[in-house]
Amino acid sequence: MKDFIIPDRDFGTPASKSKTMVTLTIDGFDVTVPEGTSIMRAAAEIGISVPKLCASDNMEAFGSCRLCLVEIEGRNGTPASCTTPVAPGLKVKTQTGKLKDLRRGVMELYISDHPLDCLTCAANGDCELQDMAGAVGLRDVRYEAAPKGEFANHFTVKNTSGEANPQWLPKDNSNPYFAYDPAKCIVCSRCVRACEEVQGTFALTIEGRGFDSRVSFGAKTDDALASDCVSCGACVQACPTATLTEKSVIDIGTPDRSIITTCAYCGVGCSFKAEMRGDELVRMTPYKHGKANRGHSCVKGRFAYGYATHQDRILKPMIRDSIDQPWQEVSWAEAMEFAAAKMKGIQAKYGRNSVGVITSSRCTNEETYLVQKLTRAVFMNNNTDTCARVCHSPTGYGLGQTFGTSAGTQDFDSVEESDVIMVIGANPSAAHPVFASRMKKRLRAGAKLIVVDPRRTETVEGPHYKAAHHLALTPGTNVAVVSAIAHVIVTEKLYDEEFIRTRCDWDEFQDYAEFISTPNHSPEATEILTGVPAEELRKAARLYAGGGNGAIYYGLGVTEHSQGSTTVIGIANLAMLTGNIGRKGVGVNPLRGQNNVQGSCDMGSFPHELPGYRHVKNPEVRAIYEAAWGVTIDPEPGLRIPNMLDAAVEGTFKGLYCQGEDILQSDPDTHHVAAGLAAMECVIVHDLFLNETANYAHVFFPGSSFLEKDGTFTNAERRINMVRKVMAPKQGYADWEVTQLFANAMGAGWNYTHPSQIMEEIAMTTPSFAGVNYEKLETMGSVQWPCNEKAPEGTPLMHIDGFVRGKGKFIRTEYVATDEKTGPRFPLLLTTGRILSQYNVGAQTRRTANVVWHDEDVLEIHPHDAENRGVHEGDFVRLASRSGETTLRATITDKVSPGVVYTTFHHPDTQANVITTDFSDWATNCPEYKVTAVQVSPSNGPSEWQEEYAAQAALSRRILAAE
């Protein structure tokens, strides 16, 4: 019996969005459904499952398997129930003698060309073909495949004569995560349709006709790995047989239970089912009812979880007195004692403010909350920061100033109702792939796309869509471009006056309009700076202002600049000017980088604010925590990450507890970071692996993976999703327990026994989380903050009737050129980004099979610039800035404009951040990663720095086992 998992019910075809209801009768039962619903779905609504093979409710009906036939009174024939819509008064029969015979006949034909090796098949117990054979009562197959191979079939290698069977194809094992076995294919086209409709890549097709029909990865010579396939897993999910199967299932077998949890990669926050056998993870499958992903996934969340059990994981605490010594494995108690003594000693010698923490955007809300509490209530200072400093801190500032909250305004479902989508400084196809798939679905349905990005990214153009306008600006000129768009909207009177009058401050608007209308902001005047043709920019502005629901999605290409905060303000101005706020399909949406970067900001990780974005200077806010924690809270803001490093170099900051972040690799100007870390007397790294920062650490607390603990992550939609423990922590403790052990070693006296108690404390002290508790999350699945008395079920859309701050605030956005300028020594501009298969510093993805797609960082350079320098495809090149130099391989492409080069920062051997500078955003100190003046020249091999670094890292990673 197949009962190992309660499957998510499949209704066969998508739900209809119609408001008109239709009543019909199916097998004698009345059913009322929205107009446009298929008969198959209507039957499923009352619990009648019509047999089916090619239908699935995440894609449009296809009508190819001919198994779902029904009879309709007064109509001829036996129509397919998946493609036949309901109509009022229909009388449908799903089970008659005629239908039974037809279905059995169809099944018999399917099985005649299908191998009967069910017992040894990877899909045994999880096969829809097997289920349907049972459902239709197939007892006999008259058309068995010929034992001697006289007739053609698709699944035996050779006939007895020894001649090759031309119909047989070998398995395609080229993809590291799934296998394609053509012998098992029934040509239902579900994989092809999933690739098109769900993922939007169109990598798969059906080649040939009739008996020759085969699923193919594009051209005949293409295998899965060589094709356009992005390994999202949608086809594997859709396949009803063992044709496309996870290799983990082939290796392990079918899972016996599943636990819903949340992906720990990007800020989309997809819900997954962790499918388990014992405590072994068999596979991760996207959860259909996950509200962020709606049953879709990408290569990282779906497949790249192997790092959690990678041999590099450190499972024992380690200490050492100085960083030139090898690590010494110790017990948890010894590690805690050692770390606490060091930190206490530092505070006694250098003062209360000489230590601090960096909270992790990879860890749960509960863990983050505890780490900031550690510094505020135990270290007694506000020196806490998080990696949002180096990604979206300008979002917090900019949206806080203009709208009153530092978060995106929409949920991801909103994109289904957008008419114009403007993507600024983001490449969702690579960095937020599941959101990208949802966006592309809308684009294929006719919505228009505007992309503002120096590179021609994968997002600019894809199968069956192309950006209406790609504004390929010069890196560093965002403010000039956004202001020019606003100039066009204001001077051409395309703004929504009624919205501005009712929702914003009219005087501030007039001041802003006067400012932005001056000719120096016109696209014609700024063209020389931005490189964006004025006419193209005007058309884009008109489209955004007049094309219906306009939504802006932006990423780190906006924030990681000297004027990051100003650009965020400029974007908010655009949305307010055009009235694109407060309903579905519109809004301003930061695409968050890390799984819980939203949550880590919400939880008070920033040095100037307590949880819920409330400044530490406010006595009434401090009073809440002083009462809850029984301490006095310092009213002065603490140090931000770059400030901590500066203070360390200067000698006033000596101790750091860094949880789940690799600042040495991820933060800019590596030399400066290394100097800061080296100047500290106690660096505690709490991580899964000996990351780059750990080369400078004195204490190592081994971390637990997201599979090993309970808690919550908050995604870019402000959605609080549950993270569930599916296996015991391999090193003994969940991360919140480790922080608690350390705090208690410092004398804190905490006694949390479950993360739900931490969430209770958060809810008790933070108004926007007041209504959040684990019970609600269990019943609702997830909830979007603010969640309190006013919005007990959370808030999918923000600013519906008014802005959180009251009236929307227009703020002047003057363009100021960055100090980072090209010149004779450094004539090119370097900008950095991500690639689909790798994630951030790569600590996780480099420890998975994802390296087959990207095993080193490469430098993209325009053919003109390459030719000038004598650089050929694949050559080693030296990349130098005023901060440092490194070497890597070049690839020649016109995706980048002349004068611009691009690379990723996933590999520590390259360390793109040796090149980036310490310039930063004026308001938040968010580093200017996206603009660095560089020179590129041919090279013979690694730079001196790379060799020194590799040697130091090797020395630093030595471990002496415990006696």
Binding site: G351, H608, E636, L639, D819, W922
Partner: protein, 76 residues
């Protein structure tokens, strides 16, 4: 933190605030530094301002009186 960095950061804030009416710009620059700069950064700022502060944009100097002077922390 180097004097050059403190100067650059203060001047960057000033450049943004200069687009506002003078009095508002002064007030907002001061409150921005009060809200986001830790006392040791403000101490370094005042060391430069007290020495004349010629390297600062005028708005920074105008805002100096509204920026909180940090209480010097004594190491135990």
């Amino acid at each position: 933190m180097s004097a050059e960095k403190i100067t650059r950061m203060a001047n960057q804030i000033a450049q943004f605030m200069e687009t506002k009416p003078h009095a508002e710009g002064v007030a907002l620059l001061a409150s921005h530094i009060n809200d986001f700069w830790d006392p040791r950064m403000r101490r370094q700022l005042f060391e430069l301002l007290d020495a004349g502060g010629a390297e600062f944009r005028p708005l920074v100097r105008d805002a100096a009186s509204a920026i909180r002077r940090p209480v010097v922390e004594q190491a135990a």
